[in-house]
Amino acid sequence: MSGQPPAPRTGATPGKRASRKFDRRRLMALVRKESLQAMRDPSTILVAFVLPAVLLFLFAYAVSLDVREVRIGVVLESDGASAQSLAAAFSGTRYLKVTPARDRREVAAQVVSGELRGFVVIPQDFERRLASRVPQPLLQVITDGSQPNTATFVANYAQGVVQNWAISRSGGAPISAIELEPRYWFNPELESRRALVPGAIAIVMTIIGTMMTALVVAREWERGTMEAVMSTPASVVEILIGKLLPYFVLGMIATLGSAALAILVFHVPLRGSVLALMTLSAVFLIPALGQGLLISSVTRNQFLASQIALFSGFLPAFLLSGFFFEIDAMPLSIRAITYLVPARYFVSSLQTVFLAGDVWAVFIPDLAAMAAIGLLFFAIARSRTHKNLEP
C-alpha cells in the first residue's frame, strides 16, 4: 500500500477494507475464534454430546408412557374352580404382575404404601354370582386414583381379562356382536419410545440453539471482550453471524449424533430421508438461535440468560411442543400459545420423518412457521443490538 500516491487527506480517510460493512475475512476470524473457544470449553462437549445422549437414554428407557407389568393384587376369597381359573387368567397376562392374596386387608395396605397399583377381589360368592341369571357384578376392582392413567388402565384391563376369560369359558363365541380390531399406524406396538426419542431431539436442539447461544453472548459481555470487539471495525452483523455460525454447525452435528443414537441404539425407525431430517433441523435452528440471540440482547449476564433460556426456550419446548403432552388435550388458551412455540412444528415434523416418512404436506407448513418465527426473532434481536454499549 505504501506504493500508492498519498491522497490529500490520507489522515482522514480510513482504510478501505476496514470501513467495509461486511468483510468475509473479519467474519472468518470471528468464526475461527468462536470455534476454538467452543472446542476448548469442556461445557460445549457436555451440552452438545453428553447431554443429548443422557436425554435420549432417559426418554428411551426411564420415561415410558406404556403400561407394562403393573403390580396389582388378586384377592381370591372363593375356592371354587371358576374363581381359581379367573385368578389364573389374571396371572397369565404380561401387562399385570399379580400378588395373590386370600384377604383384602393384606393387599389394601400395599396399595396405601404404593407397592401395588390396585387389587381385584374375587368374592366368596363368586360361583353363585356367576351362575345367577340376573347379571350381577362379579368382581370388585380397587385402584389407586392418585395415578389416574394407571388406575383407568387397571380398571379397563381387569374388565378385559374377565371378558376374555368368559369367552374362553363359553367356548370361544364372542359375547359382543361387533368385534373391533384396532390397528395403530406408524407405531404398531404403540411403543412410546418411538414417539419420544424423535421429540427429544427437538429438546436437544433447543438447548444447543437457544441456551448455548444466549450463554456465550452473555459471557462475552461479562468478560468485557464484547467491548473490545465492538471497538474494532467489525460490524454488528459480522459479530452476530460469527457467533451463530459455529453453533449452527454444532447443532447440526448434535442432531446427526442424536439421530444415529435413536436409530442404531434405540431402534427408532427412520422412515423418511436423512435429507429431510437435516433440512428440518437446519430450519429449526433459525428460531432456536434467534431466540438465544434475543435473550442475550436483553440480558448481558450469564445467570439471567440461562434462566430466561430455561423458561422461554426449554420449558415450552418440553411442555407445549406436543412432544410429551398431547396438544389436542390442552385447553384452548394453552393450545393457542403452542402455535408460538417453534418446537411444536419441529416435533410434529420430526415424528413424521421418523415414523411416517417424507410427508412434505406436513413439513412445508411446519418449515414455513419455524422460519417465520425465526426471522421475527432475528429482526427483533438485530434492531436491539447496536454497535455500542447503550442498553
Binding site: T10, G11, R25, A29, E227, S231, T232, P233, K387
Partner: protein, 612 residues
C-alpha cells in the same frame, strides 16, 4: 510516510493509509494537534449524572491522564470517545471524526483497551493477536514483521502459545496493549491499564506508552490513582461529572507552593499529632508517612499553628514538595477533620498478652499451586500491620487463614491467644472483619444491616439496641436508616461496613482492601478512624495494593509470589532501597527494588542448584 516515520513498534505498517499526525483538515489549523475534542458533553444514566457539560481537548504526542479518583462511572467518557456510548448532549470528535456520525471511522482511528484488557482467556497469545489483527483488516501472514515487533515490544515472544487466561496480570496487560495497537491507531485509549498489575509490570507499561507518545500517538490513560496522574504530561481531572482541572499536573501542584510540610520526630506520637493537626483550622489535609506526618495548609494561612503544635511534641517542621494528591484534596476544599467519633467512644483494649496476632510457617497449597509459602510473623497489640503486594501475591489467602476463613495446609496461627485450628469459633468472636467491596446486604436496609451484624456476633436485648444506636449516632447514619446500602454515598457505605465490623468491639480488626475504589477524601476519613482505633489499643491488620497507603502502617509485610520478601517499618523499607537512582524512594520504588532482588536470589538459587 516518511514525514511520520513510524516508530519502532509499527514502522512496517507505516503505509497503512494512516499517519499519526493528522494532515491539516479544511483550514482548521489551530486544531491540528488536537486528537480528541470534547465539547460540552453530558451523559446521564437514570438519575445519575455521569458527565455534566464537559469540554476538553486531548493532543497528539502526549500522554493524557483521565483521572477520576472515585470508582463510579469514570469509564463513561472513555466509552464515549471510543463510540461505545452515545452522549446525551454535546459532541466528541476523535481524529476529526464525530464519534456518533462517523462511528465506523472511530473504530479504525482508535485503539481501545477496556478494563480487564478484553482478551479471550481460552485463546492463546498468538490467537488473540491474530484475531484482533484480522478484525482490524490486517492479514496475519503478511504482517509477520508487525507481529514480531509487537511481541518484541511487549516482551511476549516466549509465550505466544500460552493461553491468555494463564498469563499473569502484567502479561495480560501487555497482550491487551498489543491487541489495541494493531493497525497503528492514532489515538490509544487505555481504561485502567494498571489495575491488577504488579508494580514491576506497571513500570514496563510506562516505558511502552512513553515510546508510543514519542512517536506522535495520543494516549489516554484512565486511572483512579493520583500518583499515576502525576506522571502524565497532561491531566483531565474529573469530579462528580465536571472537569476540575485541565493541564499539566505540575501546574496544579504548583499552586501549593510552600503549603506542604513534613513533621518529623514525633515517633510513636505521630498518630496523635496527625489527629491534632487535622483539627487545626489552618490545616486542610494530612496523612501519615512512615515515621513522619505530612500536612497541607489551607490557602493564605500562616504556618504558625503548625509550628506551635510541632513544638509542643518536639517535632520539627520542614517544607516538602507538594504532590498531586495534595493538590487534588485542596481543589476539593480539604479533607476531613482528625477526630474519630468512633474511637472516642471505644474503651481502651486490654489484652493478656502483648502479641495480638501471630502465625508460624503458614502455608497454603491449592493442588500443586502454593498460594502462601511458609509465612511467619507476630503482630503486637495496638499495631497497624500492613500486608502489601500485587494481586495474586498471596496476601488474601494469608489473610483468610489469619481470620479463620481458610485452613492452612501447614503451620498455624493465633488470634489473641486462640489457636485458629482448634478454637476457630472463639478466635472469630474476638476479631472484626471487613471484606473487600464492603460486602453489605443490598436487600436489607441500613438499620437491618446493623442489626444483622449485631445478631450474628451474638449481641441481644438491651446491649444490641444500645450498640446499634451508638453506631448510628457515631457514624451519623440517622438519615439513611431506611435506605439500602447500595444507594448510600461511598463514604457512608464505608462507615456502615466499619460499623458492622466493630459492632462487637473486637480487639483485632481485619481489613481486606478497605480502600480500593474509594476516593482520597473518603480514604482519609477511613484512616482517621483507624488511627483512632489503634490509639485505643485495637490491633489492625490491613491488606492494600495502594503503595502509599502502607505509609500509615507501623510495620509492613511485603508479599510476592506467595512469600514474605520483607517485613519492617515503612521508613526502614524505603531506607534500605535508597540508591543513586532513587535518592528518596517511594514505597513503590522500595517494592520494585525488593521484588527485583528477590527474583535475583531465586535465580541465583536455581543456578546454584543447577551447578550442584
Amino acid at each position: 510516510m516518511s514525514t511520520t516515520a513510524g516508530g519502532r513498534v509499527t514502522n512496517d505498517l507505516a503505509g497503512h493509509e494512516m499517519s499519526t499526525r493528522p494532515t491539516p483538515d479544511s483550514g482548521r489549523t489551530p486544531d491540528q494537534d488536537v486528537a480528541v475534542v470534547i465539547d460540552n458533553v453530558t451523559k446521564q444514566f437514570g438519575e445519575v449524572e455521569a458527565l455534566r457539560g464537559l469540554s476538553a481537548g486531548i493532543r497528539y504526542g502526549r500522554l493524557t491522564g483521565l483521572v477520576r479518583p472515585d470508582g463510579a462511572g469514570k469509564t463513561t467518557l472513555m466509552r464515549i470517545m471510543t463510540g461505545l456510548l452515545v452522549p446525551d448532549g454535546g459532541h466528541v470528535t476523535l481524529a476529526g471524526f464525530d464519534v456518533v456520525r462517523d462511528n465506523d471511522a472511530i473504530h479504525i482511528a482508535s485503539g481501545y483497551m477496556p478494563q480487564r484488557f478484553g482478551l479471550y482467556e481460552d485463546l492463546s497469545v498468538m490467537e488473540n493477536l491474530r484475531l484482533y489483527a484480522q478484525l482490524r483488516g490486517l492479514d496475519a501472514d503478511q504482517h509477520g514483521d508487525l507481529f514480531a515487533s509487537l511481541l518484541d515490544f511487549t516482551r511476549l515472544g516466549p509465550f505466544t502459545m500460552r493461553l491468555a487466561g494463564k498469563l499473569s496480570g502484567g502479561m495480560k496487560q501487555k497482550l491487551g496493549l498489543a491487541c489495541a495497537l494493531m493497525a497503528r491507531p492514532r489515538v490509544l485509549l487505555l481504561d485502567e491499564p494498571s489495575v491488577g498489575v504488579d508494580p514491576v509490570s506497571r513500570q514496563d507499561l510506562w516505558r511502552m506508552v512513553q515510546a508510543l507518545t514519542d512517536d506522535g500517538m495520543a494516549v489516554v490513560w484512565l486511572t483512579a490513582y493520583l500518583d499515576e496522574a502525576e506522571r502524565c504530561e497532561c491531566v483531565l481531572l474529573l469530579n462528580e461529572g465536571r472537569l476540575e482541572f485541565d493541564g499539566p499536573p505540575q501546574e496544579l501542584t504548583g499552586r501549593l507552593k510552600q503549603r506542604s510540610f513534613r513533621l518529623t520526630g514525633a515517633g510513636d506520637e505521630r498518630r496523635t499529632l496527625l489527629s491534632r493537626a487535622l483539627d487545626l483550622a489552618s490545616v486542610g489535609d494530612g496523612v501519615i508517612q512512615g515515621d513522619a506526618v505530612r500536612v497541607v495548609l489551607r490557602q493564605d494561612v500562616l504556618r504558625e499553628e503548625i509550628d506551635t503544635l510541632a513544638g509542643s511534641v518536639g517535632a520539627t517542621v520542614e517544607p516538602v514538595q507538594p504532590r498531586f494528591e495534595d493538590a487534588f484534596i485542596d481543589l476539593l476544599g480539604g479533607g476531613p477533620g482528625g477526630t474519630s467519633a468512633l474511637a472516642e467512644r471505644m474503651e481502651p483494649v486490654e489484652l493478656d498478652s502483648d502479641i495480638a496476632v501471630s502465625c508460624r510457617n503458614l502455608t497454603r497449597r491449592f493442588g500443586d499451586f502454593t498460594a502462601t509459602d511458609n509465612v511467619s510473623f507476630e503482630v503486637r497489640k495496638g499495631e497497624i500491620f500492613g500486608l502489601l503486594g500485587p494481586n495474586g501475591a498471596g496476601k488474601s489467602t494469608t489473610f483468610k487463614m489469619l481470620c479463620g476463613l481458610q485452613k492452612p495446609t501447614e503451620g498455624g496461627a493465633q488470634v489473641v491467644g486462640h489457636d485458629l485450628r482448634r478454637a476457630t469459633g472463639a478466635a472469630k468472636g474476638r476479631l472484626g472483619y471487613m471484606a473487600q467491596k464492603f460486602s453489605l446486604y443490598g436487600l436489607l436496609s441500613v438499620r437491618q444491616n446493623l442489626e444483622f451484624s449485631a445478631g450474628v456476633y451474638g449481641l441481644d436485648g438491651a446491649t444490641r439496641r444500645s450498640r446499634v444506636n451508638e453506631m448510628i449516632e457515631t457514624f451519623d447514619l440517622q438519615q439513611y436508616l431506611g435506605t439500602s446500602p447500595d444507594s448510600l454515598p461511598l463514604g457512608f457505605k464505608q462507615r456502615l461496613a466499619l460499623a458492622c465490623a466493630l459492632m462487637h468491639r473486637p480487639p483485632v480488626l481485619f481489613l481486606d482492601e478497605p480502600t480500593s475504589g474509594v476516593d482520597p477524601i473518603t480514604r482519609r476519613e477511613f484512616w482517621t478512624h483507624i488511627n483512632g482505633l489503634a490509639r485505643k489499643g485495637v490491633t489492625v491488620m490491613v491488606t492494600t495494593h495502594f503503595m502509599d497507603e502502607a505509609e500509615y502502617c507501623d510495620r509492613v509485610a511485603m508479599m510476592y509470589n506467595a512469600r514474605l520478601i520483607a517485613l519492617d517499618t515503612p521508613d526502614a523499607l524505603k531506607r534500605d532501597s535508597r540508591s543513586d537512582r532513587h535518592p528518596d524512594p517511594t514505597m513503590e520504588d522500595a517494592f520494585i527494588d525488593l521484588v527485583e532482588s528477590a527474583e535475583g536470589r531465586d535465580q541465583a538459587g536455581m543456578d546454584a542448584k543447577g551447578a550442584a
